[in-house]
């Protein structure tokens, strides 16, 4: 964990440095007003704070010993397998939500939500699965009435609906 923490802190340092030296000056027009800190100063201060803190974290992790060792015990095969499971699950979750959100944009809110729900609950037994889908359709009716009819919010239609 400590090794990962150190690497992550180093990554934050790089991010803050890139923002400080490149992104902020490039995307903030410099305007000079008397007795004003200017538009660049505040974001730069925050990034400077981030750089100092991330360096401090790296230093603390390096000097508090055992930084090179993996605290979770790299030799433990079961732990490694669990870690792989977690990573795979995270990737699956990320991709599933990403596809759902892209689906809302390109296919439409209702169809994308229906497909997501159907896939998410695919392991349920038939009766419960049918109940979930019916609940979903009932919610669609409520959402259509509440959002589209009452509040006049047109939900993303996409290619389908």
């Amino acid at each position: 964990m400590k090794k990962r923490d150190t690497m992550f802190s180093a990554l934050i340092f790089v991010f803050a440095a890139v923002c400080f030296f490149y992104v902020i000056p490039a995307y903030t027009p410099s305007v000079e007003v008397r007795h004003d800190l200017g538009p660049e100063m505040f974001p730069k201060l925050t990034m400077a704070m981030l750089m100092i803190c991330s360096l401090a974290l790296v230093a603390i992790n390096l000097f508090s010993g055992s930084s090179g060792k993996n605290d979770e015990g790299a030799g433990d095969e079961a732990a490694a397998r669990e870690s792989n499971l977690q990573l795979a699950a995270w990737c699956k979750s990320f991709i599933a939500v990403l596809f759902y959100i892209l689906g809302v944009s390109f296919v439409g809110f209702y169809s994308s939500t229906f497909v997501f729900t159907a896939v998410y609950f695919r392991r349920l037994e038939r009766k419960a699965y049918a109940a979930v889908l019916v609940t979903n359709l009932a919610l669609f009716a409520l959402i259509w009435f509440g959002f589209e009819k009452l509040m006049k919010v047109a939900l993303p239609a996409g290619l389908l609906f």
Binding site: F42, A89, V104, A154
Partner: protein, 513 residues
């Protein structure tokens, strides 16, 4: 005066107005509890209706939505880790862990009762000392506001149960994200990457939903996926570590009674007074008070280690401060004509449409209207408490659900709530991106609440700080010039030393163990 009070009461205490208040309270409860749909949105929808009805139907309608939705935001925070606004974000710190431990209903009842009692106290204070309080608030200028925001930041430092450096880093990132869009003083574009949707900066609601709700959804989905994979691996005879993939205890359906509140009386009273005071300050809004109250309560608690892990004291502290802002927010509106937050601004609009002009002369010139507003506050308090009680009975059943089974529905409402604010898909993408950020922050022990509150306060802090420097020709000792500044400065120095001492004590304790 007696005749004026009776006239005001006759305007409000009649069947039609009470029915309108009941309707408004129910609307506020439903809309306020849905992720992303705040009370402000419900009020904005109801506002055009008020133009066509008598002001003494319209104003109670708006106030009832405001009051009930302010508490209802806690429902989403406690049940599904999804706050409706920045104020409710502080409630999830302990509300959601309590629900995970099987105390969902108890947490909901505690939040209603402590919030309601704080609301009533704040209303009574508002009614009693409206004018003198507003006069004191007038002495607050940019240096004082900058210093009070620094106090809020110092309180943030106490929130994280983990590393103080990581909490500070999360706050720095939140401040950085708040600078996107445009310069608050000059109006020049800043860090908008030429993306039109970013010209105004990031919206608060997508960021809130992303950091809290989406990151939690990722965790829930991971629990489900790892649970399935773990079962498959076990079937294949492989050894894997970990539990059954879910860390939710079965719901116990316990009750929290008013007499239970006496155990937390000091915390409740202190937080209510903090909320009332922050509410009186114009322009600060309800987003700050729960965090300050939470920080103070944690610093003074006998069991600070329980904060953030399901502390009833923490929940009551945040909820009391959150609701106490409700009544006090009307002080600057009534006495100075300055709205304290967005809702107060909408209310100001509604009053002005009907020819009622709040301001320094309002109380003397139109006392009947002022007393009628105060009477409305009292009726709204009574109605929303009972409406809230029935509402809890319905929604507390959700806490018996396995959260992994709610994922598609919560995700759907997150997308809906985010999209409906500006009918913009960009906000949905922002929510997703901040969901990833929130998840990574949680995974590596950075404090998501510190990130969010720094984002909320960033704009105010930068504006007040820069205004201070401009008004004082760049002289830094302006912060030590007048008595209020001096007191706030001394308080901040004291807090710095106090927290440093606490950090070292904690470290020394860990080393000695």
């Amino acid at each position: 005066m007696y005749a004026q009070i009776m006239e005001a009461f006759s305007l409000i205490f009649n069947v039609n107005v009470v029915l309108i208040i009941i309707g408004g309270s129910l609307l506020g409860l439903v809309v306020g509890s849905l992720p992303g749909l705040s009370g402000t949105m419900a009020i904005a929808i109801a506002l055009p209706i008020t133009f066509y009805i008598s002001p003494w139907f319209g104003i109670p309608l708006i106030l009832s939505i405001y009051k009930s939705s302010q508490w209802a935001g806690a429902v989403g925070s406690i049940l599904i880790n999804t706050p409706g606004n920045a104020a409710n974000a502080a409630i999830l710190l302990d509300g959601y862990p309590l629900r995970k431990q099987g105390h969902g209903q108890k947490a909901l009842e505690a939040s209603l009762k402590s919030g309601w009692a704080a609301d009533v106290l704040s209303d009574v204070i508002t009614i009693m000392v409206c004018q003198p309080l507003a006069a004191v608030a007038l002495y607050f200028r940019p240096p004082e506001f900058a210093l009070i925001i620094v106090t809020a930041f110092l309180m943030i430092a106490t929130m994280g149960s983990g590393s103080a450096i990581k909490t500070l880093m999360a706050a720095a990132l939140g401040l950085f994200v708040s600078t996107f869009g445009q310069d608050p003083l000059l109006g020049t574009p800043r860090l908008n990457f030429n993306i039109p949707d970013l010209y105004g900066g990031f919206n608060l609601v997508p960021l809130l939903i992303g950091v809290f709700a989406m990151s939690e959804l990722f965790t829930q989905m991971m629990d489900r996926f790892t649970g399935v994979a773990r079962a498959r691996a076990t079937q294949m005879g492989l050894d894997v570590q970990g539990g059954d993939g879910t860390d939710f205890a079965p719901e116990k359906f316990e009750h929290f009674r008013f007499r239970d509140l006496r155990h937390y009386f000091a915390v409740w009273l202190r937080s209510s007074l903090i909320g009332t005071w922050v509410g009186v300050l114009p322009g600060i809004g309800s987003g700050v008070s729960p965090w300050i109250a939470y920080g103070v309560s944690k610093a003074r608690s006998k069991k600070p280690e329980e904060y953030g892990k399901g502390s009833m004291e923490g929940l009551i502290s945040a909820q009391a401060a959150c609701n106490a802002v409700g009544g006090a927010n009307l002080v600057p509106l009534i006495a100075l004509g300055i709205p304290g937050d967005t809702t107060a601004a909408i209310l100001l609009g509604a009053l002005m449409v009907h020819g009622i002009q709040p301001g320094p002369t309002f109380i003397k010139a139109d006392p009947v209207s002022v007393y009628a507003i105060f009477a409305t506050l009292i009726v709204c308090d009574i109605v929303y408490y009972w409406a809230g009680k029935f509402f809890i009975k319905g929604v507390s059943k959700i806490s018996a659900f396995d959260n992994t089974k709610l994922v598609p529905f919560v995700l759907m409402f997150c997308v809906l709530g985010t999209y409906a604010i500006n009918t913009s898909l960009f906000d949905v993408y922002v929510m997703f991106a901040f969901g990833v950020v929130g998840y990574v922050m949680k995974k590596f022990g950075y404090s998501p609440p510190a990130f969010v509150i720094a984002f909320v306060l960033g704009y105010l802090f930068e504006m007040n700080l820069r205004q201070t420097f401009r008004l004082s020709d760049g002289r830094i000792w302006v912060f030590l010039k007048d008595p209020i500044c001096l007191v706030l400065f001394a308080l901040n120095v004291f807090l710095c030393f106090y927290f440093l001492k606490k950090t070292f004590d904690k470290k020394r304790g860990a080393q000695s163990r």
